[in-house]
Point group: none
Chain length 156, copies 4
């Protein structure tokens, strides 16, 4: 039941409500990041899927280079989603397995293969890049190229 | 047990093996189709996800325009997959429902909303475009722009 | 907004569209491949499910020999799909696990049991055979018989 | 804890156990049924997937005719499974919808499209045929050809 006092407190609380500022990736930025990743892949003659997701893990952009294995159509966005939702590179999970911490395979959302890299701006994870198609360490190099290109464009 | 005669027959049968010729979409073509769809969407001030799949229903390309509802990230490729795997526009299913044929909602893979359009070259379905984000009839206009641009480029 | 110049550029870009040539399996070839696999299984008194999928991972043909475990009805096409979508025999995943690379169990689409073998023609993976029912190494022998019969018929 | 009396009762109970006799489809029969269905499809120039399942709903045989829509790879066995698990033709569900009983779309396993036909021998459903690829009434004609061929061979 509301009382006069309760109403007053409610007003006070609501007056203090303040939304959080965010910076977000967008399609234009995602296309530029993907172009940088594609250039790295072409340079190495690697065929890969490149996926870029937003802070919610939802795809902004995906492209499959010709002759890439179709399994990568699922894997690349899954790596990106894992990277953004755990706020870490998927390489960390691959390393954990290598260190004998096998239990993480039971954790929902874990994908223990390099190639998912978070996009970190001003200390916050605002998206991620996922790459799949070649060896996981190579996938990671392509994903890093996308993130590096953004950092460079932002002057960081 | 194999006999000499059995071996002979096997050879005779297998000598007749003949593969079927096909034509396939590729990333370069898919990017061009998506650019045509994006131009149509921008012209109309519509925010959409544009997805292009190959003959097997696997994504070649996906882009989400800024401010598009995130649900469309799943819907656009699902429309494309439905269009390619049923060899018809998803508008056909929307129409079937409008005509009272409700039973099709129980058929695996059916998606009864306009916006999935097959890519037909030389009488064969070789892929599809799926668009989602605005009214389904509007999604259909954007998807058609992608397919028309390819037909135009192929001189058909 | 479209301008005269924009329209011109669009035309110029789309004029370069070119589709990629492909060769595809068909039902006649798949039946012949399955017959070769079945002959190999009968010779060894093995009861198996034999599945053959196209480049997109979709079934063209499946048969279950009498007394085969019903689980293989799901496993055989899953092996074939894994082989075609990763462009490698599923034995590679079984070996990876044996080598201690446990992380791959978290990668979507991986099936770490021998018996899925890709069909490679002119350097491209155009489909796969999946066999399940006996020991995985035995499944692999039956699947290989199907692929070998095609290679033999194509004179390769 | 078992006692002398318990042991005696157990013996008595087990002596009365009697398994139920069954007749089952097998691969040889399934191939013959599929051949009859394929002949009917070819006669009508229809491209379809033909699936045959056992009493448990598990595939014995599946073939996809060239140029059949890939969606049918999932739909044909689903129709067969619905027919065997509900012991009725899937046409019954399509009719129910036509009669306004829309609620059945919420019933697990229902597939309201003609083309799934049970195989009934001596009053028992021992399997089913599922066909998909053309109009559902046409799918039903092809499925019936398979079942009719078996009935004819059994002299019924």
């Amino acid at each position: 039941m509301r009382t006069w006092l309760g109403g007053l407190l409610m007003c006070a609380v609501m007056a203090g409500a303040e939304l959080s500022p965010r910076k977000a990736l967008n399609l234009e930025v995602a296309k530029q990041m993907a172009a940088a990743a594609e250039a790295e892949a072409i340079k190495n003659k690697w065929n890969v899927v490149i996926a870029i997701v937003d802070e919610g893990g939802h795809l902004i952009y995906l492209q499959r280079m010709d002759e890439t294995q179709t399994a990568s159509v699922e894997i690349a966005p899954a790596k990106a989603k894992a990277a953004v939702s755990f706020k870490r590179p998927t390489k960390a999970f691959e390393q954990a397995i290598a260190d004998g911490r096998y239990g993480i395979v039971t954790v929902p959302g874990v994908l223990a293969a390099e190639g998912g890299v978070p996009v970190i701006v001003e200390g916050r994870v605002i998206g991620a890049v996922g790459v799949s198609g070649v060896q996981s360490a190579q996938d990671g190099i392509v994903a890093k190229a996308a993130v590096d290109s953004l950092m460079s464009a932002l002057g960081k």
